[in-house]
């Protein structure tokens, strides 16, 4: 089935280039969504099996694949609306949809791959697809954003490759040359610590470009800013999860070696710095879309803090990753409606949103409550568990500083969000506004409700999937 899925997605991508008819394009997109869901349901029924040697339907992969498929439906829907509302020519439209399909496929298969080199290959493909999405508008700024994204991602991909080379050196003593995570885990006691250390540093640094962590986070911010909002939603949620999978699967290997403590220190430093950097930018930033992107950096910083703290933090980290994907994509979908009304990204020119689009304003309000992890948001539960894990790991100073930084983030975020909702913008001519149907916001309500439900009352299967993903980690 994995092969059918890959070939099917590839044919659909080709189809976009062969025929640029509007109706055919939309039907191909619909066909892909059906394919995506068929594959997801198939994977649920074939839990714990391996296909084509390199793709395992394990718990972490399935959990994130399911998240991806859930986010993919509104992403396709909002892409359709986006393309309809903008004057597009057939060429840019077909490239956009082809890149979207490619991105979703590569991300999904990347989650499932059980071999570090295969994860690496699919991460490379996501860079290619994402760059086509970022360059969608063909403007000078879009080109700048694309260039920075491609260049930094190329360097980080190279870093991951160097990490894989060092990993293969560390494996030579084990008398095996199979770089699958399973084999690495089985031989974890025989891995050479020196090479393993170097390897972890390079692989971690490389994947931070996708995950959005210090040091390589900058490229992702520009990308999410310049990509069309529905594509930005994918970049800000599911693509970040791909970086998380890359790091987390390798972390499981490290966690079973004596290097666990050292790796935790490395991750902890990067994670804390990410929260710090996100705070600094959130206070200063005036571009709404970039503010949402920086909020993603903050959340990924918290996730990795949970991983570094260990214990209940592992559980919280995976829960947080899933919930964050739902909530953050919702924010970006809503952003596209905001932009349609104000035609501006600057906070100074956006305001009084309740008056112009009441349904959308309610989404923004709920999304703010969700992203800043206030109850009843599901993120509240995961963030609370992350704090508890920090407390149990006796990292009181880190905990207090993170809490202080988070307070500042909530203040900065809230200040801007409430300005958007209630304060009238300067020099805004509201005589000729587009009508926005309340139905467009319905997907966002579903996503937000889903995040609340999964956080407060998680189904048993969901909890079991998370518990199984972290089973191999030390208690």
């Amino acid at each position: 089935m994995t092969l059918i899925y890959l070939i099917g997605a590839f044919l659909i991508v080709i189809g976009f280039f062969v025929n640029r008819n509007k109706v055919i394009n939309y039907s191909l997109l619909g066909l892909f969504i059906i394919l995506q869901w068929t594959f997801t349901i198939y994977s649920l029924y074939h839990f714990r099996t391996t296909e084509l040697d390199y793709f395992s339907f394990d718990s972490l992969g399935i959990l994130l694949l399911l998240t991806l498929s859930i986010v993919a439906v509104p992403a396709a829907l909002h892409s359709f609306i986006y393309i309809e509302k903008h004057p597009e020519n057939p060429e840019t439209r077909s490239i956009y949809f082809a890149a979207l399909v490619g991105l979703i496929t590569a991300t999904g298969v990347g989650y499932l791959s059980n071999h570090i080199a295969v994860t690496w290959i699919f991460t490379e493909i996501t860079t290619l697809c994402a760059s086509a999405l970022i360059y969608h508008h063909r403007t000078k700024l879009a080109l700048e954003g694309t260039w920075k994204y491609v260049f930094i991602c190329a360097i980080s991909i190279t870093f991951v490759f160097i990490g894989i080379l060092f990993l293969s050196l560390s494996l030579t003593h084990a008398g095996s040359d199979d770089l699958s995570f399973k084999n690495l885990l089985a031989n974890s006691s025989k891995l050479n610590p020196f090479w393993l250390r170097l390897s972890f540093l390079f692989i971690f640094t490389g994947f931070t470009a996708k995950l959005g962590l210090v040091p390589m986070f900058t490229a992702g911010i520009d990308a999410k800013d310049k990509a069309p909002a529905p594509a930005g939603a994918l970049l800000a949620s599911v693509l970040m999860n791909l970086g998380f999978v890359g790091i987390f699967r390798f972390y499981i290997v490290i966690a079973n070696t004596p290097l666990l403590h050292w790796a935790n220190v490395v991750i902890g430093i990067a994670a804390f710095l990410s929260v710090f950097v996100a705070t600094v930018y959130m206070i200063k930033v005036k571009n709404l879309k970039r503010m949402f992107a920086y909020s993603g950096i903050e959340h990924m910083g918290l996730v990795m803090l949970g991983v570094a703290a260990g214990g209940v933090g592992y559980y919280a980290a995976i829960l947080h990753v899933v919930l964050h994907a739902l909530v953050k994509s919702c924010v970006f979908f809503q952003y596209s409606q905001i932009y349609r009304i104000y035609q501006n990204k600057s906070i100074y020119h956006i305001g009084n949103y309740f008056k112009y689009n009441t349904t959308g304003a309610i989404v923004i309000l709920f999304a703010f409550i969700s992203t800043s992890a206030m109850p009843p948001s599901g993120l509240f539960v995961s963030e609370f568990l992350i704090f508890r894990s920090l407390f149990e790991a006796n990292q009181i100073i880190v905990l207090i500083s993170v809490l202080l930084l988070l307070t500042m983030i909530i203040w900065a975020f809230g200040k801007n969000i409430f300005k958007i909702l209630f304060i009238p913008p300067v020099d805004f001519d509201d005589s000729n506004l587009p009508k926005i149907s309340p139905w467009e916001s319905s997907t966002q309500f579903i996503l937000l409700t889903g995040a609340v439900y999964l956080g407060l009352n998680p189904p048993v299967e969901f909890v079991n999937l998370i518990k199984e993903s972290i089973m191999l980690l030390p208690k």
């Binding site: 000078k140 490759f161 293969s168 050196l169």
Partner: protein, 210 residues
């Protein structure tokens, strides 16, 4: 024999640190491709012939012919000035590159692994850091691309060190080479040359937070 080529490779980095003209950079990249060709030829004795031919073709056709020719074409088409315009004087560059090499040699001395030929490690790691240094210290976007190509060459050397045991990794490295170079060079340098008239990193500062 391999060591001779690898040391010439290292020396080419020093030359690049003091080179002033863009064409010299391109020529050094082509030379590095040829050097890698010989290293591959002498190093990879245990892999299948077909795979070896593929790797050799990649070094000679891609690294030392296609990419340099394309870079020359871009230089000409976009009328990029001949000087490299570094932020730092050449002398300082030379010292920094020397320091990088010395530090990697010191680092390699701390390795107690008999499986690895240390010279591969030294050359690869110093090439990597020199490439990063070039990216940080040069003004033009095209020199950034060249810095990236240098990094790729360094990674290629490293992959050769384990090439006999795991030829798959060398092939992956080649894939990375071609993929990233085509993506960076082919699509964007063309576009960037059209949109930004003076191709300078100082022009890429419009994406701001406020």
């Amino acid at each position: 024999m391999i060591h001779v080529f690898l040391i010439i490779f290292l020396i080419s980095l020093f030359y690049m640190a003091i080179a002033n003209r863009m064409l010299t950079y391109v020529n050094i990249l082509a030379l590095q491709g040829v050097l890698l060709f010989f290293v591959v030829f002498f190093q990879l004795k245990e892999i299948s012939t077909l795979n070896l031919v593929l790797i050799l073709l990649e070094t000679i056709v891609f690294k030392s012919l296609a990419v340099p020719l394309f870079l020359k074409y871009i230089l000409k088409r976009n009328k990029i000035t001949r000087e490299a315009e570094p932020f730092l004087p050449h002398f300082v560059s030379l010292i920094i590159v020397t320091l990088i090499v010395v530090v990697t040699i010191l680092l390699s001395n701390s390795i107690k692994d008999t499986n690895l030929d240390k010279i591969f490690f030294v050359v690869a790691l110093s090439t990597l850091f020199t490439g990063l240094y070039f990216i940080a210290s040069r003004r033009k976007i095209i020199t950034h691309v060249m810095g990236y190509l240098i990094i790729e060459n360094g990674v290629f050397v490293l992959s050769l060190a384990v090439g006999n045991e795991m030829p798959m990794l060398v092939n992956l490295g080649i894939m990375l080479d071609i993929f990233a170079s085509v993506l960076i060079l082919g699509i964007f340098l063309n576009k960037i040359g059209d949109v930004f008239k003076e191709v300078d990193v100082n022009q890429l500062t419009n994406l701001k937070d406020y």
